[in-house]
């Protein structure tokens, strides 16, 4: 299988595509049918000869033989046909270029309306531009066109020139002395025929044998049936493709024109029919031309014609060529499993049995593969297809689902055969969650087949995927080639993406419970009995000796710091601040009682509590980052697969929950808050009074009203802050909710104050809520009510509960957030698409320069220092301070 693909790659390499205008001769050469009838089928249901379903368009039915090439529908490539147009018509979109040529060339001799000398000069410039700066060549030809169009007399033959106007989409007029005259396609064509080699100046590629008159069609090419297949509905009715409908329309109109001409109908009638034909052909090519007709399906739906097939997100280019649908993929809901490795993904058995991997039989895996074949397609681990390969290297495919003699087939297997077996443990797959915004959105995972129907995923890899488990689904792809598998293992594996190139820091790591768990494990007040230590270490897979317990009486007890140290590399050094290093718990150096300064020396956590800053994802220069950078990704993965589990386990041992009591304020605090509220409300009323009296001083650059609003908002924000302080003072700073907030696991002091005491001012577009009714936001208030509550100030917290008006204001502010996200995603998505498109061709070459695929140098040295941001200390390629500290430590150790 893979050999075949590799051979294909080496033999059928696409070198280049030359674009050009299709000539009538070429069309006639290609065509195997001339369409002369608009009808598709005879009364008996057979296709009309010379119709659009003529069998000469190629075999598409099962069992059908192609009358042209004699192949069946699999082998027949399909054949083109043609429609000989009764009179020529313009092809839309080419009209822009036709216009340029008509404007810039002589109507009598066809030369570009510039003196010979100039033509030669421009030609020499053009030649060079076309080679090096094709885009500039386009601009240049526009310039030349403009210049030539200025000339009112041909410098070559001296003929008088007239101004050409182009009325979109299809009409050209010439301003002659006798009036505006429409140029019909025949006239246009004959003018284009006059032109010669100097058209290169106008950007038209005559050099490759293209002729401008081909832009006016005399014969239309008709695509093979495979391009426009008809479908049979279950009612037995045939439904034709839109293209067939459009072509039939053309054929009918074409016949009509022919007939008019043949019967010597009045010229006006012919003209009308001809014009009609022109419009239909235009619509066949692009059914969304502004100012032209639309071809419709029974007057209801606009037909999807050629341009529509290519255009847009679902069009051929973006929908089928830049992005392709694939086989060997699966999608289902994800759910968490903290006990599999971050490198793994749990795959449901059902999916493992559907997705297959092609393996070549060798003497070394023969027995193993025979076992799969014997198991058959329904029992995991089994196999679904077997390719028996003969001496010539040709394979015979056996579908095990339709066979019962699996044992016999297994016995017949020999090295060289290929078996499509089920996914098994240890296979590598690509795992992806949309939106795929960065390269960590698709990583390589090792398969672990499991019961159940969901993909299982370690919680630590949620950050790069931005995944949670509220119903998220993810995709899985099986690599097909050895080459692809090798790349997946070598480059895509999760552990190779612990560090992100975005800022040089870890993007994989703990969140939420991992953070509070790490805190509870390493906090000074935590000691673990032997049983607890066993639990923590066994879940982490620790197999070494137990260290000396930190406490001997009343019994052996260990600290969490001791346990954590067991997993660190022996010479690991780290110094840094904890997240809790703030306010009362601030430590400025290692000698500090609050334990918020982390010191790790010789692989031992000596002091400092572990929390968000130390172990979480997206925290550069933390413990995990240093391990990954200095000891390798694999070492970092081991850390994640071991101690991080004990964080969770210690959380389970110690227990962490949240209760109403955690946010319950004592009466005196409530009284204090009420007083504050009164005080500040008075301030607000005072401001309003001042404003009404005209005594308010405006902030420069603002109106008086804006100043008032801003001052009120400031006052109310200050109130919220003071209330927050009161709440924080009266609540137990070591209760579970505060632990979560301080360690950075979840929530903040603001959130706690909002629950316990007061939500504060709600804002929409950064302003108080002013919309609603005349002079009031809600009918519950008096017009022009000065009280802040009337304009979105929420005095209560969630503990007390909101009043109906407060709840409404809160919902209004919440809605803004939802709308914002919706708008934002589309905008930033488009920005990213453009960024990717502009930058995707850049790469680092072996000489260290950054170039695009065409060899243009964009940077002489990547990032000016050639450093990969992924391998940096938060942007710094060398951490000098750290190096010196490490060296000092080492010297101190050797001195002892």
């Amino acid at each position: 299988m893979s050999m075949r693909l590799m051979q294909f790659r080496e033999t059928n390499v696409l070198d280049s595509i030359k674009f050009g205008v299709l000539s009538p001769q070429e069309i006639r050469k290609l065509a195997r049918v001339t369409v002369v009838r608009g009808e598709l089928y005879e009364a008996d249901g057979t296709p009309v000869a010379g119709g659009l379903r003529d069998p000469h368009f190629g075999a598409i039915e099962p069992g059908e033989r192609c009358p042209v090439c004699g192949n069946n529908r699999e082998e027949c490539p399909g054949h083109f046909g043609k429609i000989e147009l009764a009179r020529p018509v313009l092809i839309p979109h080419y009209t822009d270029f036709i216009y340029n040529i008509l404007q810039a060339t002589c109507r009598v001799c066809g030369r570009v309306r510039l003196p010979d000398q100039k033509i030669r000069y421009y030609m020499s410039i053009m030649e060079r531009l076309r080679v090096r700066w094709p885009q500039l060549a386009k601009v240049f030809s526009k310039q030349i066109t403009k210049e030539a169009a200025q000339e009112t007399r041909c410098p070559h033959c001296g003929a008088q020139q007239y101004k050409i106007t182009y009325i979109k989409p299809l009409f050209f007029y010439e301003k002659r002395p006798e009036g505006d005259v429409r140029l019909n396609p025949i006239e246009i064509r004959s003018r284009l025929e006059l032109t010669g080699d100097d058209l290169i100046l106008l950007g038209f590629d005559v050099k490759s044998g293209n002729r401008p008159e081909w832009m006016v069609a005399t014969v239309l090419i008709v695509p093979p049936l495979a391009v426009r297949p008809s479908i049979t509905l279950e009612t037995g009715l045939r439904a034709e493709d839109d293209l067939t409908h459009a072509l039939a329309e053309i054929a009918r109109q074409n016949e009509r024109v022919k007939q008019f001409i043949a019967t010597n109908a009045p010229e006006t009638m012919i003209e009308d029919a001809w014009m009609q034909l022109q419009y239909i052909v235009a619509a066949y090519i692009d059914n969304e031309l502004p100012g032209a007709y639309r071809l419709t399906h029974r007057r209801k739906r606009n037909l999807k014609t050629l341009a529509q097939r290519l255009k847009g997100k679902e069009g051929r280019l973006r929908g089928n060529l830049s992005g392709k649908r694939v086989n060997f993929s699966a999608r289902t809901v994800i759910s968490p499993d903290p006990y599999i490795s971050i490198n793994e993904v749990g795959v449901p058995e059902e999916i493992a049995k559907t997705l297959t991997k092609a393996v070549r039989v060798t003497p070394w895996n023969l027995e193993e593969i025979r076992r799969y074949v014997r198991n058959g397609p329904y029992k995991w681990p089994g196999a679904v297809y077997v390719y028996i390969v003969d001496e010539k290297g040709r394979g015979r495919k056996i579908d095990l689902r339709f066979r019962k003699d699996w044992d016999k087939i297994a016995e017949q297997l020999k090295p060289g055969d290929i078996v499509e077996r089920h996914l098994i443990n240890g296979d590598i797959v690509l795992f992806n969650r949309q939106p795929s915004l960065h390269r960590m959105s698709m990583m390589g995972h090792i398969v672990r087949v499991m019961p159940g129907k969901t993909f299982r995923l370690n919680l630590l890899v949620c950050p790069p995927y931005n995944a949670d488990f509220d119903g998220d689904e993810m995709n899985l792809h099986v690599p097909r080639l050895e080459e692809a598998e090798a790349e997946a293992r070598g480059l895509l594996l999760v552990e190779k993406h612990i560090l992100t190139p975005r800022y040089g820091g870890p993007i994989i790591g703990g969140r939420q419970d991992y953070v509070s768990g790490a805190y509870l494990m390493t906090v000074k007040t935590s000691y673990f009995s032997k049983e607890e230590v066993s639990r923590l270490l066994s879940i982490s897979g620790y197999e070494g000796e137990l260290p000396e317990p930190a406490i001997l009486k009343p019994g052996p007890y260990w600290t969490g710091k001791q346990l954590f140290s067991l997993f660190l590399p022996n010479d690991f050094y780290f110094e840094g601040l904890s997240k809790i290093n703030a306010g009362d718990l601030k430590c400025s150096g290692p000698e500090c009682f609050h334990d918020s300064y982390i010191v790790v020396k010789h692989g031992r956590l000596l002091e400092g509590v572990l929390d968000k800053k130390a172990i979480a994802a997206e925290e550069p220069n933390n413990v995990l980052h240093m391990v990954a950078l200095e000891y390798g990704n694999s070492e970092a993965r081991k850390l994640l697969d071991s101690v991080y589990r004990s964080f969770i386990r210690s959380l389970e041992l110690k227990g962490l929950t949240m209760s109403l009591a955690d946010i319950d304020l004592p009466p005196e605090a409530k009284k204090l808050i009420a007083e504050k509220v009164e005080e500040y409300k008075k301030q607000v009323l005072g401001l309003i009074e001042k404003y009404r009296k005209g005594a308010l001083e405006p902030i420069p650059g603002r109106t008086l009203e804006e100043t008032l609003e801003k001052s009120i908002m400031d006052v109310l924000e200050k109130l919220r802050q003071e209330v927050q302080e009161i709440a924080a003072n009266y609540l137990d700073p070591f209760n579970d909710v505060f632990i979560m907030a301080r360690t950075g696991a979840r929530g903040s002091e603001v959130n706690i104050a909002q629950m316990a005491a007061m939500l504060g001012q709600q804002a929409v577009r950064g302003k108080r809520i002013k919309r609603g009714f005349r002079k009031r936001a809600l009918p519950h208030f008096k017009p022009d009510d000065p009280n802040p509550e009337a304009w979105g100030f929420v005095r209560n917290g969630f503990r007390e509960g909101l009043r109906p008006t407060e709840m409404f204001f809160h919902a209004a502010a919440g809605r803004e957030g939802l709308v914002d996200t919706a708008v934002k995603t589309s905008q930033s998505g488009y920005m990213q698409r453009r960024l990717i498109n502009a930058l995707q061709d850049l790469y680092v070459t072996y000489d260290g320069t950054v170039r695009d695929s065409w060899g243009n140098i964009v940077q002489f040295k990547y990032g000016e220092d050639g450093v990969d941001p992924m391998l940096t200390y938060h942007g710094k390629s060398v951490d000098v301070d750290r190096l010196i500290e490490k060296a000092k430590l080492e010297e101190a150790a050797t001195r002892q």
Partner: protein
């Protein structure tokens, strides 16, 4: 310690480090190592390790740094604020930040939606707030409208009275003399009298002007609209300042530094840089095109980097500067500023298929046919379309082992 050509191993290592490491890292390293108090061997070890770290952190050939940069800037875009107006601690201005500003920058819009000029001053203006304010007054674009309280006229009477607000005159630093001169220069008419007085409770100056015949012909003396147009003309009279600078504020360069700078709304670098009070080295504008025009494309590249980094920083997003550099470089390497998108970088690619797969598909294909373009399948999209491996990353390696020889 063995010495070769009079050089200690430590010195030799230093020289090696100087060769390999970038200047700034080297300097930092040597300064800190010398001050560290480590033993000779310890110092050597640090330098060796620093060199090792630096070399270890080098990018690998083939790395698709463009795509990585695009992702690194695009991915956090979803986390950015959408609100156009974000408060930035400057009292008077609302500045466009966040996603809209980022899009504006990569779009290479001609005019930023909030044009700003950061004007730094030379001494002595820099250290003296009053002097800085004087410069600000000089720069601010001022018309008569800003100091006129009212214009009084009567139908049939050629003489009109311009009422100037004294307070505002002072605030803007305009003298009555200047006003009279300006009126003369614009040929409004003859100034008859200048009087101080009070108007609506404010101290004002009344200027009586006999409007010239040219502006106010005899026959139009009874038509209110002709007086109106005269009034409008007077209001638009330029008094002083630099065109385009709407508002200007004085603030400290850094809080508590005692050094002052000006923040101006509006762009006009050409004129501002000409002023002798202005420190042309540091003064900058947030209009990339203007910088390219006035200071050149290299300056524009740096301005792009600064602006993008600033937007990201204000939004609290962490993105390595190297990614931003790539964006700035692709926008400027051709010598002119090109936007990221159909009308710039993406639309000027040499590949037909890449352009067609991006936007305006049909037009691109027709153009390719007429100009006879050649698709050579060098870029990423083209290869994806053709089902070939793109030539970046592992695909950049074109050297491959041949087929195994027969019978071998």
């Amino acid at each position: 310690m063995s010495k070769k050509n009079g050089e200690s191993p430590y010195e030799r290592l230093k020289r090696k480090a100087a060769e390999i490491l970038p200047q700034n890292i080297y300097q930092d390293l040597i300064d800190k190592v010398e001050a560290s108090g480590l033993s000779e061997e310890g110092k050597q070890r640090v330098i060796e390790e620093a060199i090792r770290q630096y070399l270890h952190a080098q990018v690998q050939p083939g790395e698709a740094v463009g795509t990585v940069a695009a992702q690194s800037i695009g991915e956090p875009g979803t986390q950015m604020t959408l609100r156009t107006f974000h408060f930035t601690g400057i009292v008077e201005f609302d500045v466009t930040l966040g996603l809209p500003r980022l899009i504006e920058i990569v779009d290479a819009k001609r005019e930023p939606s909030t044009p700003l000029t950061y004007i730094y001053l030379k001494e002595p203006w820099r250290s003296d707030e009053a002097k800085a304010r004087e410069v600000a007054r000089k720069i601010e674009y001022t018309t008569m409208e800003k100091i006129i309280e009212d214009i009084d006229y009567q139908l049939g009477d050629r003489v009109i009275t311009i009422v100037l607000d004294k307070e505002r005159l002072e605030d803007k630093g305009v003298t009555v003399d200047q006003v009279v001169k300006a009126l003369k220069k614009e040929k409004i008419g003859e100034v008859l009298s200048i009087e101080e007085g009070e108007y609506k409770g404010k101290p004002v100056i009344f200027i009586d002007v006999e409007v010239s015949e040219k502006l106010l012909p005899e026959e139009s003396l009874l038509m209110p609209q002709s007086f109106h147009s005269v009034n409008e003309k007077i209001k638009k009279i330029y008094l002083k300042g630099i065109k385009g600078i709407k508002r200007i504020s004085v603030r400290e360069e850094e809080e508590g530094s005692g050094k002052f700078m000006l923040l101006a709304e509006g762009n006009n670098l050409e004129e501002i840089l000409r002023l002798q009070e202005v420190d042309y080295r540091r003064t900058r504008s947030n209009n990339i095109h203007e910088i390219a025009r006035v200071l050149g494309i290299e300056a524009a590249r740096n301005a792009l980097i600064d602006e993008i980094m600033n937007v990201l920083k204000e939004a609290g997003l962490d993105v390595d500067i190297r990614h931003v550099m790539i964006v700035a470089d692709i926008m400027t390497w051709s010598g002119a500023i090109r936007q990221i998108g159909r009308l710039g970088v993406a639309g000027e690619k040499p590949s037909v298929l890449a352009r067609a797969a991006f936007e305006v598909t049909v037009k691109q294909l027709y153009e390719a046919a007429v100009t006879g373009e050649l698709e050579r399948f060098l870029g990423v999209t083209e290869n994806i379309i053709a089902g070939l491996p793109p030539r970046v990353g592992t695909g950049a390696v074109l050297l491959r082992m041949g087929k195994p020889a027969r019978n071998g």
